[in-house]
């Protein structure tokens, strides 16, 4: 019975981190993910009356126990979509994600093409060297003489 209880306690302890509620939201955690809407810079570096009001807005919701996502949703409802430091995936905002992705794909594709071309060239060059015609007797003798002179 004791063993079973201990096993259950151990299991509960192991599962606890996975099932624990999301960490509490904090001003510091949210500040760098939102913009000061009037100054158009991240809120964590903004110093203005409007930025202070935005911080008060966040602090009030943190005090109420709202999650980070709830607070960000409330910020969008009050200050508009431009309050988010990262654009959402809708409309023109999608280009913020699509353009870098397209560039990576294009660069990767170009690199793959180049590698494939180099690979094709490699064996071809080796074949050419292997298939070079054998030296005649005169040429061999001349080569030996040249080498002997070089070694002297």
């Amino acid at each position: 019975m004791r063993r079973a209880a201990a096993a259950l306690a151990l299991l509960a302890a192991l599962l606890a981190p996975a099932t624990a509620p999301a960490a509490d939201a904090s001003l510091v955690d949210i500040e760098d993910e939102v913009m000061c809407v009037s100054c158009e810079i991240p809120l964590n570096v903004a110093e203005s009356a409007q930025a202070d009001q935005q911080r008060d807005f966040i602090r009030a919701r943190v005090a109420r126990g709202q999650t980070k996502e709830q607070i960000k949703t409330a910020l969008v409802a009050e200050y508009g979509r431009e309050v988010l430091a990262l654009p959402d995936g809708g409309g023109f905002g999608i280009t913020a994600y699509a353009v870098p992705l397209a560039l990576v794909v294009a660069l990767g594709g170009g690199l793959a093409l180049l590698l494939a071309r180099w690979r094709r060239r490699g064996p071809a060059a080796a074949t050419t060297a292997a298939e070079a015609p054998a030296l005649s007797r005169t040429e061999t003798r001349r080569l030996d003489e040249e080498l002997a002179r070089y070694e002297r």
Partner: protein, 180 residues
């Protein structure tokens, strides 16, 4: 042939990136077409959007006020010049309402509802305000800062613009011009 195709694709990609950059820059640029038209003594049509009423559940637009002189004022609770000019707008509202000829309409931007409402009470604002949450109307007026004021005649045309704090001279003159 293959080399040509690769060059065409690369050129198209380069053009697309440059186009995208151009679009981004133009979208962020200042639109001063209304100011230029007013400076030429023209009366350009006043842009309009349907927006929620501050502290209410209904919506309104500038277009709904056709037939009246409208003093459209962009403001925010955190803006000191907005507070300075508020008494002038309160007085203008009183005069326009008494004459039955028009109204002042505030438009809040970059501001939380609770903060705006607190200032409506503190500054004794006697005219309705709309909430421009995504700066939809502000963009149409090329408005990037607060306060900014646009005076619109009864035919829905912009007659005067103030990009900054208004004074009595501007407001009286603009309302008089709009009433003609």
């Amino acid at each position: 042939m293959k080399r040509h195709a690769a060059a065409i694709v690369a050129a198209a990609a380069a053009i697309a990136v440059v186009g995208l950059l151009g679009y981004g820059l133009s979208a962020r640029g200042d639109d001063r077409s209304l100011d230029e038209a007013v400076a030429r003594n023209e009366r350009p049509p006043a842009p309009s959007s349907t927006l929620p009423v501050l502290g209410g559940t209904s919506t309104r637009s500038v277009a709904d006020l056709r037939g009246q002189v409208v003093v459209l004022n962009f403001w925010a609770s955190w803006c000191p010049p907005c507070e300075t000019e508020a008494p002038l707008l309160v007085e203008a509202q009183r005069r326009l309402q008494r004459a039955g000829s028009g109204t002042v309409i505030g438009v809040t931007r970059d501001d939380a509802t609770s903060d705006s409402l607190r200032k409506v009470s503190e500054w004794k604002i006697n005219y309705p305000s709309l909430r421009d949450v995504d700066n939809v109307l502000a963009k149409k007026y090329g408005s990037k800062n607060v306060p900014e004021t646009f005076v619109i005649d009864a035919r829905g045309r912009v007659v005067a613009i103030s990009r900054g704090e208004i004074d009595r001279g501007f407001l009286d003159n603009a309302v008089r011009t709009a009433s003609r």
